[in-house]
Symmetry: C2
Subunit: 276 residues, 2 copies
């Protein structure tokens, strides 16, 4: 049989390039521009073939440059799973079984870092942007954990970027959840205790107006720090930690063969379990 | 001056409907189908007008039914911010200043719940789907925290849905971060200690094969629970908790006027600060 693209003996010509995923599905990565009608034809052929093969979830990672193909995929039954600045991930469950497509990410994760040197001085910054710009307030360094990054890696990286200080991660002292902080998405902020490995500050210019080691009392006595709900707790946690009255959650590497096999970190009060 | 849509005296006819956001930007919600050329014309006019008004970020929430308009927005300089099954959020920073558009969500959040009754029996389930289907393993109830939901609300809701048991939230005993668990997105799993307020199990049929109160030793002696990295720690945390040797992070409501004014919860070792 002849088709406009070749014969059925050479069926791959008619199928979109796809790789199998670990869950019985396929991932299509459309990389080069395609004529919409060609894409449509190949998508329909591919779905027929994947159904025959018993595939379940079909994912299409569509670069933003190919936005003209989105409508075609939607017409074929795909819906949106997630998007990042340069691509849109579409998905379609083609099996008769119930969909096991994972929920989309719902939280942005950020860190705040408490770093004391051996003179009981706290590492603090003034920010160049955001609500505190120009306020003169000295605050602990904060930053966003990047996609795919660990919380402890994010804390170490942000401190290095903003202040030039090398640190090692000690523990999570507290965390804050802010539901619906942007659209319907939420924030999780982890307050991290860090141990400095260097002391010479090299501030980053883009986000940071100034950075210094500051006597803890001077930091704590700033009026806004005393007044603000979160800052007051950060101050109290610093004091409790300095006096040895407080233990945070420490990460240890674990895998879980029962659940997912992924490498991961479990954060908990390790100190308490070690006493057993 | 005449335009194809009306006169300049009635300028709103040429602009997309938009509401101001809290950050000096506008949000366009395109709800009804539009001719692509009409959308294109109105988008260009609107951007010109918003630039004159000094607007910064322009957001377009585009329903999946209007996928045919995505390409036009992209050609006008918009990129993707995030997507959910039924819409795509596009964004364009039209000011000359540096963009302060927030990062997209990077983490899915789930909970696992430890619920003991007063006979030291643990609430356990067998799942109908996923890796453990048909395995016969009894495990603690788990579930996904929904968009916009608090961790403690999610834990209470999931327990009620899966087992019919009413509970109150006590504390987070530990959390697990799994970087890059799906595509480049990560998982955060919070292990929650819950206190039961009811005891009569009514299991949900869709996800749950069976649910029961089980003697803790029977749960802990299951071979897979003893072998698995995560399950072993869950077991040890149950024991430490039962013996009074372990304190988790308790949530308290806080706002932070310095940072964002949002209602939020701070989870920390409240017990330790209370002793001060």
């Amino acid at each position: 049989m002849e088709t406009i693209f070749g014969t059925v003996n050479n069926i791959n010509v008619n199928l979109l390039p796809a790789v199998n995923d670990e869950h019985g599905g396929v991932l299509v990565q459309v990389e080069a521009p395609m004529e919409p009608n060609v894409f449509h034809y190949m998508l329909q052929n591919s779905i027929t073939e994947w159904k025959l093969q018993g595939k379940k979830g079909v994912w299409i990672k569509m670069p933003i440059e190919l936005a003209n193909l989105v409508e075609i995929a939607v017409k074929e039954g795909f819906w949106y799973h997630h998007a990042e600045p340069h691509y849109l991930m579409l998905v379609h469950w083609i099996a008769d079984t119930e969909s096991t497509i994972p929920a989309n990410a719902s939280h942005k994760v950020s860190i705040g870092a408490i770093v004391f040197n051996d003179k009981r001085e706290l590492l603090v910054v003034q920010e160049n942007c955001g609500r505190l710009k120009g306020s003169g307030i000295w605050k602990i360094p904060t930053g966003t954990v990047e996609e795919g990054e660990s919380i402890y890696e994010g804390a170490i990286r942000e401190l290095k970027e903003e202040t030039g200080i090398d640190t090692e991660f000690v523990e999570v002292l507290a965390f804050r959840q802010i539901p619906k902080s942007f659209f319907n998405k939420s924030d999780l902020f982890f307050l991290c205790m860090m141990r400095p490995l260097s002391f010479d500050i090299q501030k980053q210019d883009l986000e940071i107006e100034a950075a210094q080691w500051m006597a803890f009392e001077e930091y704590a006595n700033q009026p806004l720090i005393q007044k603000d709900g979160l800052s007051k707790y950060i101050k109290d946690l610093c004091i409790a930690k300095a006096e040895g009255d407080y233990q945070g959650f420490t990460p240890i590497p674990i895998t879980s063969s029962v659940i997912d096999d992924h490498m991961s970190s479990l954060y908990f009060l390790k100190h308490a379990l070690d006493q057993e």
